[in-house]
Symmetry: C2
Subunit: 301 residues, 2 copies
Amino acid sequence: MLFLGIDIGGTKTIIAIADEGGTILAQQSLCTPRDQGPSAVLSAVKEAAHRLVTDHCSPITSVGIGCGGPLDPRRGIILTVPNLPGWEDLPLADYCSKAFNAPAYLDNDVNLAALAEARKGAGTGIDHLAYFNIGTGIGGGIVIGGKLYRGCGNAGEFGHQVIIPDGPPCLCGRHGCLESLASGTSIARRAKESGLDLTAGEVAQAAREGNPIARRIMDQTAGYLGLGVTNVVNILNPRMVILGGGVMKAADLLLDGIRRTVDERAMTQLACDVQIVPGALGDQAGITGAVLLAIEESVSH
Amino acid sequence: MLFLGIDIGGTKTIIAIADEGGTILAQQSLCTPRDQGPSAVLSAVKEAAHRLVTDHCSPITSVGIGCGGPLDPRRGIILTVPNLPGWEDLPLADYCSKAFNAPAYLDNDVNLAALAEARKGAGTGIDHLAYFNIGTGIGGGIVIGGKLYRGCGNAGEFGHQVIIPDGPPCLCGRHGCLESLASGTSIARRAKESGLDLTAGEVAQAAREGNPIARRIMDQTAGYLGLGVTNVVNILNPRMVILGGGVMKAADLLLDGIRRTVDERAMTQLACDVQIVPGALGDQAGITGAVLLAIEESVSH
C-alpha cells in the first residue's frame, strides 16, 4: 500500500509517498507558484506526485494534505490562507481525491506537524501534548489521548492568544498576540527597530557571536514564548510541550529562558507535570504528518 | 440505587443524595468548620450525610466529592487547598470510601461544575465546551467529547493565565493572572482603590444604580474576562463557553462586554464557532457535578 502526503506552504510545497508504517519512501520539494493561483499550484503538485508514484508502480491508497488555515477538515475545504491569495473556499480534498483517484483528507499543517511529533518525534508515547510551531508566524496543535484535538475544526491558535493587550499590531489585524511578539517576523522587526537589519536567523547568529542587542531580542523572545507556553500549560496541563518551527533552530538561545518563564509563571503542579522539549523532526514534521493523516484516516474510514 | 455527593468549599459544604439519573433527592448545607482542620470537617460531613441517607433507607452505591485543588483525581488525594489549611496530601477519597462503605471519587469542584453544566445545564448536548467559574477566585473546566478533560490531573486553570505580564499580584504568588484582574476579590480591591469600600456584589449593584466608578470597574472586569475567554477560545476552539460562579450574578453588566471583547480579539472563525452563555445551574452546579461524578465513575468501574 502506498500513501501520498502533500504539505502546501506559502513558499515551498513538499510531496512524499510513504508505506503503511509512515516511512517516507521518496519525496520532492517544489517552489509554490502561489502568484499563479491554486490551479497552477495544484497542477504542479499533481505532476510531481505522479512522477513519484510512477517510480513505485503501486496505486495510492489515500492522500493526506496539510495547508495553512483556517480550514474545515471535516469537509476538506480551505476557508482562507493569509499567504495563499485566491484559495478562499477551495474544496482541496475533493480536488486531490479526483486527481489521484483515492480518498483525500485535509488538515492544518501545524496540526499535522503536531501529529508527526506525537507519533514519530519528540512526543512518541506521550498521551497528551501541545505543539508550538514558531516560524514566520506561530501556530499550534493539540494531541489528546493520542489523537489530534480539533475543537470545532481549528483548535490550537496558540499564536493569537493575547499576551500584551496593548501590544504591537499582528498580521491577523489585532494586536499584542503572541505571534506579534515572538515570531520570526517579530524578531526581525524588533531588530530593525534597534538598528539591526537582519533576518530572524541572522539575529540568532549575532546573539551567539555576542552582539548585546541581538542577545536582548532573543531573551525577550524567550520571555514572550514562555508566557505563551505558560498559558497553554495552565489551560491544558499537558505532559509535554514540543517547540518546533524555524525559529527553534535557535533553541540553544531560547529554551532555557522559555523553561525559566514557565517555572516562574505557571501553576507549580502544572509546571512540574510538563516537559518542554524541542521538536525532533525539524522540517520533516509537516510532510510526515501529512502521510500519517492519509494512513490514519484511511484506517478509520 | 442511591448516590452521595459532597461539595466541600472554604466557607460552605453541601451534601446531597441523588438517584441514578442524577436527580437530587435531598441536600443539606453546613458551614465548613475549616479552622478545626480536616477531621472536624469530615466528621460534620459524615454526620450530615448519614442523616440524609437514613431517611432514604437504601445503601449508598458510590460517593462523588468536589473540592478545591490542586489534587490528584486518580488517587483521590488533595494536594493543597489554599483556603483549607491542614488539608495537604489528604487521601480524601479513601476516607470517604471507608466512612460510607462505598467507592468514592474525588475531583476539582470547578471541573464538577463544568460536568454538571455539560450534562444538565447550559451545555446539554454540546460536545466540547469550556466552563469558567468566576467567584472569589477564577477556575475552569474543560469537557471534550462529552467527558471531563483533566490533562495530567489539573487542566483548566483558566484563572492563572497571564493577561497582563506586569499586572497586580495574584493570590497564587505570581502577578497579572486573570484571577488578579477579574475575580470577585479583584473587583472589591479595585473598588477600594477608587474609594468604594464595597463587596463585588455591592459594586455590581452600585453600577446598576448608576455609580460611574462602579460602572467603570465592572466594564474593566468584562474586558479582562473577555481576554481570558479569548485565549481559551483561540486555544480550544470550543462550541460553547459557559460562565458561572458568584461574579456572574452580574451577567447583566458583564456579558455584553465579554462577548464584544471576544469578537474583537479572537480569531474570526473561532469567535463565530463559539456561543458564550451564563451557567444555568447557579449555586447547584458544584453539588450536581459531585453526584454525577459518583454515578458516572461507578458505571465506568
